[in-house]
């Protein structure tokens, strides 16, 4: 087990190094100059040169790369070219927003995805099953940004209501306002993952319900409820845990658009505006953060799998 973890960590480090080089180079070999964006239409050759020097953009690539890597591991992410703000400070301020959005999203995913998946499986080929399946197809096929726009605009147009589009609040200081801010976007963001979990739970549960030990349980006279909840569901949830883990890193990507539409001041909104403005310091650090989360989540899921299913052994 220890050897397995060490091997996986080494592989993760290699993957992250590869990603860091790719992100760093892709940003720089592409056309465009962040110094010009910072200075706007009034830029002069002198000021552009001054910004290049200030941001060390004149240094050789390997020097820039090493400086960035050193900053990344020491959490000194540099300064935003466009806004002049400290990226580490912005990151610290915005991370809780994105984490909360992801937590709420996972909450909706589990709290609605699993029960509806169960309902779908136990009512196979009956109206509740059809309803859940149609909903799942809808959730998977309709883009979140479109649903988000409708969720925002229709109530505003019809009833003059929209989630608060003001300063992003804290769950600790203004909980109810916070819930109104995070509820709708997290539900929209959860739609596709919820749909995926519904389908996964349904198919896994249907398979388990056909297993010998379930037939034995029924033969012993257990009620359908006990059979499903105590014997079948537990085993069918193992792949669900895996998928939920992988979803977490995917949600980081989904938050980019949702945070922008609902005006949540999180990492997604930050990376969205930074990509548009070619803000090196922000983009490369946030992409690395996302990649790190994805790699670590993969590792965590693999390890967790072993605990959930004793039949699995690492070698």
């Amino acid at each position: 087990m220890t050897q397995y973890i060490i091997r996986r960590l080494a592989l993760a480090a290699l993957i992250l190094w590869f990603i860091s080089v790719a992100v760093f180079l892709l940003l720089r070999v592409g056309p465009g100059d962040p110094a010009l964006l910072q200075q706007g239409i009034n830029a002069t050759p002198e000021t552009v040169a001054a910004v290049h020097k200030e941001l060390h953009l004149d240094d050789p690539y390997y020097v820039q790369y090493l400086r960035w890597m050193k900053g990344f591991v020491t959490l000194d992410l540099g300064r935003s070219v466009l806004t002049q703000t400290d990226v580490s400070g912005e990151f610290k301020g915005r991370l809780p927003v994105t984490v909360e959005l992801m937590m709420f999203t996972l909450f909706w995913t589990v709290i609605l995805g699993v029960p509806f998946g169960v309902v779908s499986a136990v009512t196979r080929n009956r109206p509740p099953d059809y309803f859940v399946r149609v909903f799942a197809v809808f959730g998977l096929s309709v883009p979140a940004f479109w649903v988000a726009t409708l969720v925002l605009m229709i109530p505003a147009q019809q009833w003059g209501y929209a989630p608060p589009l003001n300063k992003t609040t804290s769950l600790f200081t203004e909980p109810w306002l916070n819930l109104k801010q995070f509820g709708p976007p997290s539900f929209v963001l959860a739609l596709s993952s919820m749909a995926g979990i519904m389908r996964l739970v349904r198919s896994e549960l249907l398979e388990v319900l056909r297993a010998d030990y379930v037939r034995t349980a029924r033969a012993k006279g257990l009620t359908q409820r006990l059979v499903v909840m105590r014997h079948a569901l537990r085993n069918s949830l193992i792949p669900v845990v895996t998928v939920l883990g992988l979803l977490t890193s995917g949600l980081l990507g989904g938050s980019v658009i949702i945070e922008s539409i609902f005006n949540l001041r999180g990492l997604g909104q930050y990376i969205f505006s930074s990509i548009l403005q070619k803000d090196y310091a922000v983009v490369q650090s946030l992409v690395m953060f996302t990649a790190t989360v994805a790699v670590l989540m993969n590792l965590a899921v693999d390890l967790l799998y072993g605990f959930l299913d004793p039949r699995i052994r690492y070698s």
Binding site: G30, P31, G32, D33, P34, L36, L37, Q38, Q39, G40, I41, N42, A43, T44, P45, E46, T47, A50, S80, L82, T83, Q84, T85, G93, P96, T149, L152, M153, P155, A156, Q157, G160, Y161, A162, P164, L165, N166, K167, T168, S170, F172, T173, E174, P175, W176, L179, K180, G183, S260, I261, F262, N263, R265, Q269, Y270, F272, S273, L276, Q277, K278
Partner: protein
């Protein structure tokens, strides 16, 4: 996110510092999720391009006239825009920060260039209480007020009165090329020197007479007067300390800026509102939703149809529609083929059916424009003059392209939200005259880099707004719009430079207007490498309780936000 114990709702609830009734009540509100919202945050602060100017054709549907009412003080005035703040540098802000600078800092004076329908405001003094132009038309002597006191701040800048030394220090910064100030070209081309002989006197000497001196000194983006201690601060791009009507309380990039009333403001009783909040939205739909859900007080619709739609949903809102001072243009680099051929440039201009742009993009509202937008009602060429100077003539365009051997053209454009509509019409017009136009969309960073360094061959672009005719016409001056050859397309004629300088230096208005008309005709006759397409109208909708909304003043209207008041409980 640091939360103190006292601030923490959950800790207060669990430790008994919040009554059970209050806790449960909060839970019910949160559960239902339909409680009314406090009106905070957001709104439609126009940047330059989003602003409106009060041309003679301005139309307004004002709120129903009522008997004179007492001004209600207090409340939060909420505006918004789409985009980043990108800092709050007083001299080179071009994004959302440019909506903060004019209300936090002061100017020597203001001058409204384009009179609005309600009457021109003319010159309005600020730090200066009066000024005199000597007979030589190059020496301006400003007498300064002694009570323009710096706002309370936590930056260690003393709460003293602004004086002539602050004006001089501010102008030194604008003149310094390292600042990349918006006013660099004005100071470089026209200003000879300036002195502060005493605390309340400031003397500005020009190189030669210049009719737009007051307009430029009062331009939001050019002439901010900053306390000299603050000019030395490393944080001048991130925070603001001035003596304007408001003081910047918070600036959260990507979210909002809150400005509170400056208790030291020299006009006692103003501003009328307690705070002005500018929200930054990433998405136009979010911006509109914030307005329709009463979270902001002002919104900028995309066109007249959207205005009508909002008006039909809420008949109480007040709508404004004014000629905009922004430009949409086609830029050609005469240092690259085939744009060095005047036949090609002329053919592009003749192939443009400007009416179609107006019908599709302007929803039927707007005017064809030449070098100057129609918002400058006096100086701009009339429709008849434009029809003669740059007619829609596809037949001739086709012949010119054929003579030049052109069957295919390439051009770039930034991938902004509405640019694709312009590009599609443009390529269709060229196809109609036998030329296949191949657009090369580029992200903003890539595009501006190529544009700035003149590496692009040709580009469609949506340019900034220019608050006076001289500023806009610098596109045709050697040295270009920035005065330092950035964005240079190589199109340069000494006689045009001389004519532009002469027009700008003509004090007599009638003679100046005639000079501007003539130079525009001369420019068009020389097949310019910078072609403007049409002038849009800028739509604004405002909640009915917002009084004294400074409509029709372009971004110059920011200076009157101190007089905005909210007629609501």
């Amino acid at each position: 996110m640091n939360v103190s114990r006292e601030d923490n709702y959950w800790l207060r609830a669990t430790t008994g510092r919040m009554t059970r009734r209050r806790f449960v009540g909060g839970a019910i509100v949160g559960g239902v999720g339909a409680a009314s919202l406090a009106t905070v945050g957001c709104g439609g602060g126009d940047d330059d391009s989003g602003g409106s100017t009060g041309g003679a054709a301005a139309t307004t549907t004002p709120a129903p006239t009522t008997a004179p009412v007492t001004i209600k003080k207090g409340g939060v005035y909420n505006v918004a825009f789409t985009g980043p703040f990108a800092g709050v540098d007083p001299h080179n802000s071009v994004y959302g920060g440019s909506g903060i600078v004019p209300v936090v800092y002061n100017y020597l004076l203001r001058r409204q260039v384009t009179p609005d329908a309600a009457g021109a405001k003319g010159i309005i003094y600020d730090v200066a209480s009066s000024h005199k132009v000597e007979a030589d038309s190059i020496t301006y002597t400003f007498k300064l007020r002694d009570d323009v006191k710096i706002a309370p701040n936590t930056r260690g800048v003393p709460e003293r009165a602004l004086d002539a030394d602050d004006v001089k220090a501010s102008f030194d910064r604008i003149s310094d090329p390292k600042t990349a100030a918006n006013g660099f070209a004005f100071f470089g081309r026209w200003v000879e020197k300036y002195t502060a002989p005493d605390k309340t006197t400031f003397v500005l000497t020009l190189k030669k007479p210049y009719a737009w001196t007051e307009a430029n000194l009062g331009n939001n983006l050019i002439g901010a007067i900053v306390p000299k201690e603050w000019l030395a601060s490393a944080d001048i791009k991130k925070d603001a300390v001035g003596a304007g009507p408001f003081m910047l309380k918070t600036l959260t990039e990507g979210q909002l800026a809150q400005m509170d009333r400056n208790p030291n403001y020299y006009i006692k009783g103003q501003p009328y509102v307690d705070s002005k909040v500018i929200k930054a939205y990433a998405d136009q739909a979010t911006y509109r939703t914030a307005f329709t859900s009463n979270q902001i007080d002002v919104y900028g619709p995309q066109n007249k149809d959207e205005t009508a739609e909002l008006k039909s949903a809420d008949k109480t809102i007040v709508t404004y529609s004014d000629p905009g001072v922004g430009y949409n243009s086609f830029w050609m680099n005469t240092k690259q083929k085939p744009w060095d051929d005047p036949r090609v440039r002329r053919a592009v201009n003749l192939s443009m059916n400007r009416k179609e742009y107006i019908d599709i993009i302007g929803h039927g509202v707007g005017e064809p424009i030449g070098p100057l937008t129609y918002a400058f009602t006096k100086e701009a060429l009339t429709a008849a003059e434009l029809a003669a100077a740059q007619p829609y003539d596809p037949t001739t365009a086709k012949k010119l392209f054929a003579d030049a051997g052109i069957t295919e053209l390439k051009f770039t454009h930034p991938t902004s939200s509405n640019m694709i509509d312009y590009v599609n019409i443009f390529t269709r017009h060229l196809a109609a005259v036998g030329v296949t136009a191949k657009p090369d969309p580029q992200d903003a960073g890539t595009w501006v880099a190529g544009y700035f360094t003149s590496k692009l061959a040709a580009s469609y672009s949506l340019n900034q707004a220019y608050q006076n005719p001289d500023f806009a016409l610098q596109w045709y001056h050697t040295g270009g719009i920035t005065g330092n050859n950035a964005y240079d397309n190589g199109w340069a004629y000494p006689e045009i430079d001389a004519a532009l300088d002469k027009a700008a230096g003509t004090a007599d208005e009638a003679a100046r207007v005639a000079a501007y008309k003539q130079v525009q005709k001369d420019i068009l006759a020389k097949d310019p490498a910078f072609i403007n397409v049409f002038g849009v109208r800028v739509e604004v909708v405002v909640k009915s309780y917002v009084k004294n909304y400074p409509a029709g003043l372009s971004s110059l209207g920011y200076q009157f936000e101190k007089e905005v008041w909210l007629d609501k409980a």
